[in-house]
Chain length 457, copies 2
Amino acid sequence: MSLNDALQAHKASLCEALAVDDRERLGALLPELRSADIAEILEAILEEDADPPLALALLGRLPLERQASVLGHLPGDAQRVLAEAFSDERLLPILEEMGSDERADLFNLLDEDRRQALLRRMARREREELIRLASYAEGTAGAIMTADYVAIPSGMTVSQAMMRVRQTAPDAETVYQLYIVDGLGRLAGTLSLRQLMVAPPGERIDALMIKDVIRMSVDAPQEEVARRVARYDLLALPVVDDEARLVGIVTHDDALDVVESEATEDIHKGMSIGALEDGVSRVPLWSLYRKRVTWLVLLVFANLFSGAGIAYFEETIAAQVALVFFLPLLIGSGGNAGAQAATLMVRGMATGDVGVRDWGKLLGRELLVAGSLGLTMALAVAPIGVMRGGEAVALVVAMSMVTIVLFGSLLGMCLPFLLDRLGWDPATASAPLVTTLIDASGVLIYFGIASALLAGP
Amino acid sequence: MSLNDALQAHKASLCEALAVDDRERLGALLPELRSADIAEILEAILEEDADPPLALALLGRLPLERQASVLGHLPGDAQRVLAEAFSDERLLPILEEMGSDERADLFNLLDEDRRQALLRRMARREREELIRLASYAEGTAGAIMTADYVAIPSGMTVSQAMMRVRQTAPDAETVYQLYIVDGLGRLAGTLSLRQLMVAPPGERIDALMIKDVIRMSVDAPQEEVARRVARYDLLALPVVDDEARLVGIVTHDDALDVVESEATEDIHKGMSIGALEDGVSRVPLWSLYRKRVTWLVLLVFANLFSGAGIAYFEETIAAQVALVFFLPLLIGSGGNAGAQAATLMVRGMATGDVGVRDWGKLLGRELLVAGSLGLTMALAVAPIGVMRGGEAVALVVAMSMVTIVLFGSLLGMCLPFLLDRLGWDPATASAPLVTTLIDASGVLIYFGIASALLAGP
């Protein structure tokens, strides 16, 4: 990806200063930049020069804490390259400074030997936490949660809890939502720092806390986590294991990243593109090919049905070659309307706006809207039918348009529900799939109506 | 939209209890439910019964603060219905309890007379703030920001600031990020509550605060606000006017809502559907028709180019009707590959992963990927060509496939950049538009190759 102008200028200055080892200038430049910006500059440097000495030098000029933060902002590829270039002695202190979730993500990028080497150098407690966090399947609450939360033992007073907050503050991802756990580590309640600050110091937190905590199971899909954070406007969402023990929290910023990446995945799925492991400008070409080719080839074969339909009506076509003029127009229009209907349903289901039970109501609505769309489009195309083939052809084309648009829209609308019912992802009802299905049906509808109405040559 | 099972059960219990005015049961049921859940139940009640007495009765059982919070969670339509059913005396205290951003949104839903009536009853300060917040154009930072932030005058000590935080706490949207303003109301710095809590009480905040604050202009588009919150993992983003005066903040939960609704808008645009003002299950049918029809009809006319292409090659077709068999397949495949390429670019540009400068690099990548895709699809379709029309037809079909897929993909890839260059929204390069353009070019490519290679009947 390319930098914007401001970052491009910063990058040039940084590279210059690094080249002549101008410490003073680096000392002035670096504190001005945020970690996310430095990460973007580093990424650009790495892209130009796969050999990372310049990137390493730049990273080395930052305090340890910022090195950790910058590393956490980099995409996986860049993280791996840098981590592999570091010695264990150099990498370990950075890992220690990273948030527990980012540390686990980076750890999972390394090869087995390196992981073992790093684990051997860690204290037991650290090692166990890292192994635990790194073990959760990608796309689950466990994989995006952090273990750096503020836990308060049940039974403490407000002033004791406040003390605990101050002690934990430097390491915790957020100190603004506190989680109260019982003797077995189970989540017993929650309290915001705001509530704690205005409470009488001697009061027991058990009396103040909210007991009915919104929580998520550690193996819940990440999109459900994000949806819950959004729905209840949460700062963080606690994550619990099978025995209701608190094992981590997902913070608002991670939930936002999930919403964004899930949206990208959904948009790609809508065009039959598999989930990419990175941005389109960075993902390896081979991967991009694989994620696109499967459905494209499947749809080549599905498209044979359109061909078969045409073969079946070959006589009608040979007698009235002028009909072919309207073929792309009719099947294209049906495909467009159908893809719209499918997309509206798939996105509605993804955001929770549409439920499976709404099917009946939505079918009625689509019937009305698609009927009106079909009529409008038939009116638009009828004059052209008259011009090119006379009134009989115009009638065939107009009738076909209404039928194809109506049929296509209903098919597009129903397909996501059907797929969901069969246990598939409704997003499989992508524009290419819907369009292809409507192409085949459109051929049959159009030439069927034509051969019925236009008697012989 | 339909409720999930748990909420359905809650709704049934609530309606029962309301019907017999069972205060005890209501008193037990209501505190268990969160505002977002009560809002969803209310919405379902309103949908079944446009007359709102039951919904009003339910709302009336809640403490004022929760009434405000539930109202804020409702979609615009429902808010208007309820607000119109309330008298001014009943509505005013609820408005007062609402967050300033939600209050302004609700205010904008009312008709002019009602707005004037409400304003007359407000204190001057309140009135001015409401008029100001309600005046920002939809989709800007101003329209989603809240005025309920904690502002600390420059020059205070840590302990004075802490006192200010405690005083403001009940009314502020967040107390966890503090904004320091100078005598002219200009944003001078920021400080997290976490930093404040561990600072020496006598220290001046001016010495502690971060001066280089990430901020946003009040008329910046909301998607830029959301992107900045995401990029820098912010809890809240301060919003300033032309003179650098602090006028509001956008909190993380509102940024998350923006990301979600912008993604929905982008997904819809990708199918040439205009931005809907509400969820697909709620938006009026007329609006749904309007948002879909424009492009569908435009594309009907664009599709005439395909027809014109076919008319031009009518002789070739009449001589070899078997060629029509492959027409939907070839133009469909090109359309699918092209729509994929366009979608990858449009989404990449929306998330900031792809910049206009990346064009050259991405063109090279697409050339390789699309070339491979075209070859794979040509291999898949060649045997069928042999079966249906012999080797000559197979050659024509395979060559057309490679050319159409390659051309379609490059067109799909370049169109978003071209539109952006022309000052249009790159998302206008929707799947239907790209598919239609490729249909027309595909017809020309296919029959062009056919008439060149297949000499006469």
